[in-house]
């Protein structure tokens, strides 16, 4: 594994290795904010073309706990926004010798281009690209589900997980559908037809238009953020109508299995896709997801650049000749 661009880059074993590694790391980090010397001398760049304080901080914490040098490069608002700038930025980072570039970009496929065109030698980690994927979010979601429902062991076979809301525009949903199914879970997508992509029938997931039809049989319910601007693009008529039909409220939570958990990738629109009771209920693992995010991202960084990287190998070959 050289880059993490899409869940499709991972085999089931790769994904389990990341989760298992994250389990060990979270056990070690539990007591204190322990720091490991593992990535000392490695440079990790947070390249964020889009604002996302939570994801950036999570990656930053992960990298720092592994003693990596972290450079935050916020490209938003600067002259960097379109066109060849992605390439120019990448070449700059290459000159700085980045071992890993964590990229968040508004354009689907930007991390893939960074990696594929090999403008940089370092590992490319997709921290969310357009409406494509957000693999580390899916990994931390799977980690959270496995911790609660599988005692940190094995895969997610036998579990049914609902992903509710704006599937069409959600990179979190795309990565989760791929990963949860790879790990053996059954995924049911719940959304109004306007917010489901054309071709969703090829995703292997079940589809439902009614949250009430599926909520009682699910082991986890993952609520997706719904942007209010979607209303202007006619995806749904009003916030009230959306909340009534697809929001997670106290009545729906009451229908859930005893063991079932409520998840949200954040940031939440309280009152739209989730009510305050939903967000704060005892089933909610939303706060835990944040902590798990650091462990999972540490695991990804360790597995990508903790051992010998292609840069190291190239350097060794260089030494020999």
């Amino acid at each position: 594994m050289r880059d993490l661009l899409s869940i499709n880059d991972l085999t089931k074993d790769d994904a389990l290795e990341i989760l298992d590694t994250a389990v060990q790391l979270s056990a070690l980090s539990d007591s204190s904010n322990r720091k490991f010397p593992t990535l000392r001398g490695r440079t990790v760049v947070n390249l964020f073309f889009e604002d996302s304080t939570r994801t950036r901080i999570s990656f930053e914490a992960a990298a720092k706990r592994l003693s990596a040098d972290v450079i935050n490069f916020s490209a938003k608002g600067s002259s960097v926004s379109k066109g060849e700038s992605l390439k120019d930025t990448a070449l700059t980072l290459q000159a700085m010798g980045a071992d890993a570039v964590i990229i968040r970009h508004g354009s689907s496929g930007a991390p893939a281009q960074l990696a594929r065109k090999r403008w940089i030698d370092g590992a490319v980690i997709n921290a969310g690209d357009g409406t494509h994927e957000h693999p580390t979010q899916a990994l931390l979601d799977a980690f959270t589900i496995r911790r609660h429902l599988k005692k940190d062991q094995g895969d997610l076979a036998g579990l049914k997980i609902a992903v509710v809301g704006d599937v069409l525009h959600s990179r979190v949903a795309r990565s989760n559908v791929l990963l949860l199914q790879k790990l053996g879970a059954t995924v049911v997508l719940v959304a109004p037809p306007t917010l489901l992509p054309v071709g969703v029938e090829h995703w292997g997931a079940q589809v439902s238009f009614a949250i009430d039809d599926v909520i009682a049989e699910c082991d986890a319910v993952m609520m997706l953020r719904v942007q209010k601007e979607r209303m202007e693009d006619l995806f749904f008529p009003s916030e009230r109508e959306y909340a009534r039909n697809f929001g997670l409220n106290a009545a729906r939570i009451a229908e859930m299995k005893e063991s079932a958990i409520v998840m949200h990738p954040g940031p939440m629109n309280r009152g739209l896709e989730i009510t305050a009771e939903g967000a704060d209920s005892k089933r909610s693992v939303i706060v835990e997801q944040v902590a798990n995010g650091v462990s999972v991202r540490m695991a990804v960084l360790y597995l990508l650049i903790g051992g010998a990287t292609s840069r190291d190998l190239a350097a060794q070959i260089g030494d020999q000749s």
Partner: protein
Amino acid sequence: MNSWLIKNARDLQGKDVDLAVANGQIVHVKELHHQYSELDAKGLTLMPGLVDLHTHLREPGREDAETVFTASQAAVAGGYTAISAMPNTLPVADTAGVVEQVYRLGKSHGLCDVFPIGAVTVGQKGEQLAELVAMNQSEARVRIFSDDGYCVADPLVMRRALEYVKLFDGVVAQHAQDPRLTENAQMNEGEVSARLGLKGWPAVAEEAIIARDILLAEHVNSRLHICHLTTAGGVELVRQAKLRGVKVTAEVTPHHLLLTDEMAATYDATYKVNPPLRTESDVQALRRGLADGTIDIVATDHAPHPQEAKDCEWSAAAFGMLGLETAFSICYLAIVKSGLLSLADLWQRMSIAPAKLARYENHGELTVGRTANFVLVDLNKSWKVDAGALKSKSKNTPYDGMELPAVVEKTFHNGVLVYDRENQGREGA
């Protein structure tokens, strides 16, 4: 003067043929003056020059991407003796002045005929008809009008344009794309776009406009041409309209005959094109449509872009790919080698039919007395596409590195050898 005796060539049917050229025209061999060049064309196939009705030359305005000169060089290297300059330049070719400028540029370079296409509406804004008659009566004698790049979306504007071009037997070439259904669209809407998270450009956005325009053309009894058909549904709409006797014609690009939306999975913006690459079943429907005559012609939609417009995020990249230099080889591969059409039938759709459609009198035929616009092609050889070696100023070809069949060896325009693959150093300039 340029007098030639081309010997030992084969014609489209594979029969041996000699061709005599004098003063830019095809003559009887016995009419040749004593001073002529003899050319042994053994093993080569002799055909009328290709005619393209959909070319983006970028001049005036985007000379960094292409110029009339470089596009002409690319054209003759691809076997074209006539190309048609789409009006989406800076400024837009919506007046007699601009179309005459482009026409004269083409003429001054003298490599091939450059026939401007006029904009349908002022500034291609889709609101007010441009002065179509003035463009038609200009030196450029514009016969085709199109807002290509944009759709003439307003049904009333489209109706008026269709009616108005009847004044001079013109034709409106529609870029069929419903703008509301394709806002910020990036690629074909379907399984692949859903997977890649790229905003979809649904087939229905093309077909809805085609259906509407067919009905409008039928209603006002005028000539409609559908640019770059890409969907199976669109082919069917045109097929049904033709059965009803509607005066509709349609074109398909080489890339839509070969490539599918799966190419987008690389996020390589070279494959970003408008209308987008569709699915395999669309490709098959387009091939069948071209074979059965539903689709009248092949047009390149040659769309050069500088490297920086492609070497970037998919959503920031420009739409379009090169076509002129690879068109014949791609069509030969997709249509002739696959057994759908004979060579003669393919040539009909790349030369004769477009010349007729556009009323380009000097193209598409090789009989005594006609202008000597023809090419010599080696069908037994293949060539490896090298983007860097293309004549076009831009390099955005999706076929870089591919081995393609059929090599254009020589192109003659008005009886002059304007492209000679063997002696590339000498021609052009």
